[in-house]
Amino acid sequence: MKTFIVIPAYNEEKRIGQVIQDLLGSGYENIVVVNDASSDKTDVIVKNCAVDCIDHIVNLGQGASLRTGTQYAVDQGADVVVHFDSDGQHQVKDIEKFTEKISDGYDVVIGSRYLGSQENIPFSKKYFIHKPGVWVNWILTGLKLTDAHNGFRAMNRNSAQKIRITQDRMAHASEIPAEIKFHDLKHAEVPVDIIYHEYGQNLRGGITVVVDFVKQKLIS
């Protein structure tokens, strides 16, 4: 089973190197980093590692980066595509849980911060971003998950080809559950531990996601 790790990166020079080394050290050979027109040295660092690197000429957003990376992985014959963050939030040891589920016959596996220990999730994130996010996603997409906007996910080849990410920016995280529902894909959630750094999705970001998603539904 050929597992491909797709890492969208935008100005991640501080952490991307470590993330890649952790993945390589754990035996993951097929890694593609999509450098979304970073203005720092992200591309230099990535190109010095034993991974494939795709450069966007202009900044398109995380959704677009995932789309590019996923497309590339499928072209390269990936059996499983894993979306992994570039900032060290996700833990390499968790990837196995995803690939095992895929081997068990699930089409899409999504990480959830609320199935595991739930340690160190900041209060504001839990009650003002994630919980409302779960409800908004449920209403908009019809898929009830225990976590919203978790960027850690894996899909088999068939799903990677089916799921269309049209949202260039952050709303792709709502689009993926909608696509799962639409294509009636067999999905599962697995507990993941997230390490929080100083940044990430804030309240305004969460609102932008909802607005983008609704806009998309209205005009297409």
């Binding site: 590692c49 034993a50 450069d55 000429i57 497309q71």
Partner: protein, 114 residues
């Protein structure tokens, strides 16, 4: 005729002449030219004979001719904004697609000796 009407007539003549020159140089197509011509001529007619607008306004139940003109103008502007918005979204998507195709073609493959 008052000063406002003179100004409008001069402006319309100026615009129509410019448009005709553009048509001659094939900058705009004939159908587009006609749509704008009809639009400008009707504005001219309404400016010279405001009672026509008042009559139409009373007919549709708005009351005052000027009010009707303002409502129509707002609707027209909203419509144009919406069209531009859709066009921008489409442009955005096209740009994304181009950037993605080009980026995948120019992939920087990993070094095999490492």
């Amino acid at each position: 005729m008052n000063l406002f009407q003179y100004l409008i007539v001069v402006f319309i003549i100026y615009t129509v002449v410019k448009m005709s020159l553009k048509l001659k140089r094939s900058v705009i197509t004939l159908p587009v030219y006609f749509i704008w011509l009809v639009l400008w001529l009707s504005i001219g007619v309404l400016a010279l004979m405001p009672q026509v607008l008042t009559y139409v306004a009373e007919f549709v139940g708005v009351g005052r001719g000027v009010d009707l003109a303002i409502y129509m103008a707002i609707l027209a502007i909203l419509y144009v904004i919406f069209k531009i918005y859709l066009r921008l979204e489409k442009l955005d998507r096209n740009i994304s697609e181009i950037v993605q195709k080009v980026s995948i073609q120019n992939v920087h493959k990993k070094k095999l000796d490492e």
